[in-house]
Symmetry: C2
Subunit: 199 residues, 2 copies
């Protein structure tokens, strides 16, 4: 009934890890960095460019906004990456899988693919602790600022390509605070739900 | 760890029913209409007044906004009802229980009572179907309009007394779309979570 699970996540909330474990437990493919690999493979873009612009809006795209007429003829590199990623998301969704980010909830809803849409969030304190635990004590970097900037970039990217507000509760079937609930319990609840709904 | 469960809900989403079943399953008291009973009992207000103004903002309260100086000395009937309900919520939270609505998530957070905060929502189509199923085919009433009005009243009430946006995802530990997930599965997931967190 819901063969595809999309995971939207705040930076540092553990959404990637939760999605990976859900996919493993359900025995279905997992798409996150794999989307980048596929786009590199198919289009020959530099990996760094996709990693940098794959979920953040760049000045280039904003510039193209100025002239609607120009935008009809030219695509910014970011628009091309969005379309390439969109194609990968649609192809991946041909079989049961878990997809992280990339506006996949919106892309699949627009394409009328039925999905189970999940949101993973956590308060800043939990996310800072998680990032420090994962990447160690990063010197010369203000972790809080980095997290907030990443959130803002993803929100803006989502807004730009979907014209919707990131995190609006009615876009998700299930939203979980991983800081309160814990990563393993999030995985458990998502898998329980998937099982109940016969994913 | 989380002895109190608060349920915020959209009108017609089944939040009341889900909360009641969760309380029954966990063997703890349930507070919804019971809050009204207690306020009637303790303050002698007319039941109709509390049912009408217990979660909706009235013109009276809006009028009091105009003069901050007056508001320091006078309380609108609605403000008095809010304070009476707040007292009941705080007293109820002295033991494990489930509380529906009445800004209980905000009231208890402000009082530093640890809670598990749940949001139940559903799309309009599911809610219309549920209201019609529950109350029968109500003649001369536009059910859609009634639902949207009730949502707006509750949103405005929440905004008025908490200065926060109703439905903001970071206010909830778990948010569920009861239209997609189904009432019984919502109950199951909330009880699973409560058990995992040792409510």
């Amino acid at each position: 009934m819901y063969p595809v699970i999309t995971i939207s996540r705040q930076f540092g909330s553990g959404g990637h890890s939760i999605g990976e474990k859900v996919a493993k437990q359900l025995g279905i493919p997992f798409w996150d960095g794999e989307i980048v690999n596929k786009v590199v493979e198919e289009h020959g873009y530099a990996r760094e460019l996709i990693e940098e612009q794959g979920e953040t809006t760049s000045q280039a795209s904003k510039w193209f906004d100025i002239s609607a007429a120009s935008a009809m003829y030219f695509q910014s590199p970011q628009d091309e990456i969005f379309l390439a990623q969109r194609k990968v998301v649609l192809e991946a969704a041909a079989e049961p899988c878990v997809i992280v980010g990339r506006c996949s909830d919106y892309i699949l809803r627009s394409a009328e693919v039925r999905c189970l849409n999940i949101l993973i969030h956590a308060d800043l304190e939990h996310r800072v602790a998680r990032v420090l635990e994962r990447y160690g004590d990063i010197k010369d970097v203000d972790v809080k600022k980095r997290i907030l900037k990443k959130d803002k970039q993803r929100r803006t990217y989502y807004r730009y390509y979907t014209d919707q507000q990131w995190g609006a509760y009615d876009n998700y079937d299930l939203a979980l605070d991983s800081g309160v609930i814990g990563e393993d319990c999030c995985v458990h609840l998502i898998c329980e739900l998937a099982e109940k709904l016969n994913v």
